[in-house]
């Protein structure tokens, strides 16, 4: 990722949080992804997708577990990986034929029966019908024969696999507007390690950096129109704990990457001296995450109704990383 920074295509924001933060990763992460509201059912990217209708084959994609950002009334495509496995595999040709044709028709009828009734039935209807549509839309895409471009080499990891699938689908020009990819393992309470090669955290950061670096290289000039936003709730305590790890913190680092980005480090640095820390333990925040989301919504996604995606937040103040 350091090359991206030197190219001037990366905004680094090391002090991101918000005024209403709490000490539960789950609640706070969900609130951030809901545009600044606790216990919300809709994510900020889903609210964006709802704000505007576009007829394209594949508009929104979630790799892995459905992220809170993508959850809501707009039914997004979710994939665990980009493979052509369909609804099953059989050595028996008649059975295979059944899996590829008749079963899909039967499933379609079953899901359509669920279009009314309880919330869970309607969820099954929406996501089930989406699944059957996507099987058709994605049937021509073969992840096994995908060739990366510009000499991009993806590392061997779940994050890299997801980003590689995402790059292939972006290049397939199916109208993709929003993709969500998740990566866990940042709760480094013990044996976090330092910058040494085998340190637990440094290995995770290496994978994070190499995966995003490969994605950026692979997309090449397409990065003019593609923006990567990395969001995290995982600030850590400023001091090491007794288990040689770090505990729940306050401000976290976010990155925005793309050829439309004004590369720089953003936000005032609050300092690490004891009297500058939040509650004496945590790096303080100087950037409200909603200002980052607002700028992405306004300048990249061309959505003027920022307050609708950010739980009524209208007092936004863009940082200027998109000019």
């Amino acid at each position: 990722m350091v090359d991206i920074f030197h190219n001037g295509d990366m905004a680094i924001m090391p002090t991101v949080s918000w005024e209403n933060t709490n000490r539960s990763h789950f609640e706070n992460q969900a609130a951030i992804e809901s545009g600044g509201q606790f216990l919300a059912s809709q994510g900020w990217l889903n609210l964006h997708l709802q704000s505007d209708y576009r007829e394209v084959p594949l508009r929104a994609l979630n790799m892995g577990k459905l992220a809170q950002s993508m959850r809501g009334d707009y039914t997004v495509t979710a994939l665990s990986s980009l493979s052509n496995s369909g609804l099953g595999r059989s050595y028996n040709q008649d059975v295979q034929q059944f899996l590829e044709n008749d079963l899909i028709n039967y499933m379609n009828s079953s899901y359509n029966l669920m279009s009314s009734g309880s919330d869970n039935r309607q969820l099954l209807y929406r996501h089930g019908v989406k699944l059957l549509e996507d099987l058709d839309i994605l049937s021509d895409i073969n992840a096994d024969t995908y060739q990366t471009e510009n000499g991009a080499v993806y590392p061997s990891s779940g994050l890299a696999d997801d980003l590689k699938n995402a790059a292939q689908l972006i290049k397939a020009d199916m109208g993709l507007e929003v993709i969500s990819v998740g990566v866990g393992g940042w709760d480094t309470h013990s044996n976090q390690g330092g910058a040494e090669e085998n340190g637990a955290l440094s290995k995770k950061l290496e994978d994070f950096s190499d995966s995003i670096g490969a994605f950026y290289t692979d997309l090449g000039e397409k990065m003019q129109d593609v923006l990567i936003l990395t969001m995290s709730e995982f600030g850590r305590s400023a001091k090491v704990n007794a288990n040689i790890g770090t505990d729940h913190g306050h401000a976290a680092s976010w990155f925005v990457i793309g050829k439309s980005v004004q590369g720089s480090v953003y936000g005032e640095w609050p300092g690490l001296f004891a009297d500058q820390l939040n509650r004496g333990r945590y790096l303080n925040d100087t950037i409200d995450f909603r200002n980052i989301m607002a700028e992405v919504l306004l300048n990249h996604l061309q959505n003027q109704n920022v307050d609708q995606a950010l739980s009524g937040f209208s007092d936004y103040n863009p940082l200027g990383f998109l000019g």
């Binding site: 789950f26 059912s41 979630n62 892995g64 577990k65 459905l66 959850r71 039914t75 997004v76 495509t77 979710a78 994939l79 665990s80 496995s85 369909g86 609804l87 099953g88 595999r89 059989s90 050595y91 028996n92 008649d94 059975v95 059944f98 899996l99 008749d102 079963l103 039967y106 499933m107 009828s109 079953s110 029966l113 919330d119 869970n120 969820l123 099954l124 996501h127 089930g128 989406k130 699944l131 996507d134």
Partner: protein, 127 residues
């Protein structure tokens, strides 16, 4: 996870193995755990402190539905499937009995007549 354990306990089939071999014990280290991961519930990796979500709103997505459909199709349609033996052992003699028994086992009879009709069609088309 309840779905996978329930299917395996109810039917007690040999588990499908990539190599074509089979075992009567649930295959914790092989395909089953991989399938559970695809279903979003890796064994022993539940998020602390909340565990895996119980309500549909928190987990339903097209990928999760696909993983579940794929798993059950693989279980019933693979070459080692003992479905026919199982049906005979239960003393079920026609398609209506089979569908009614399966629906009562899996859905505790909480289904609509149209859903039963679709299940019956699937069975008679390919039985």
């Amino acid at each position: 996870m309840e779905f996978v354990v329930g299917l395996n306990r109810t039917f007690a089939f040999p588990n499908p193995q990539p190599s074509g071999a089979s075992t009567l014990k649930p295959d914790i280290n092989g395909s089953m755990n991989r399938e559970l991961t695809n279903m979003g519930m890796s064994l022993y990796r539940m998020p602390a402190p909340t565990g895996y979500p119980e309500v549909g709103k928190k987990w339903i997505s097209s990928a999760q539905l696909k993983a579940r459909i794929y798993y059950q199709n693989n279980l019933f349609l693979n070459r080692n499937s003992q479905m026919l033996t199982w049906v005979i052992e239960q003393g079920l003699s026609n398609e209506e009995e089979i569908v009614d028994y399966l629906l009562s086992l899996m859905l505790a009879n909480d289904y609509q007549p149209e859903e039963r009709a679709i299940a019956l069609n699937i069975l008679t088309d390919n039985g």
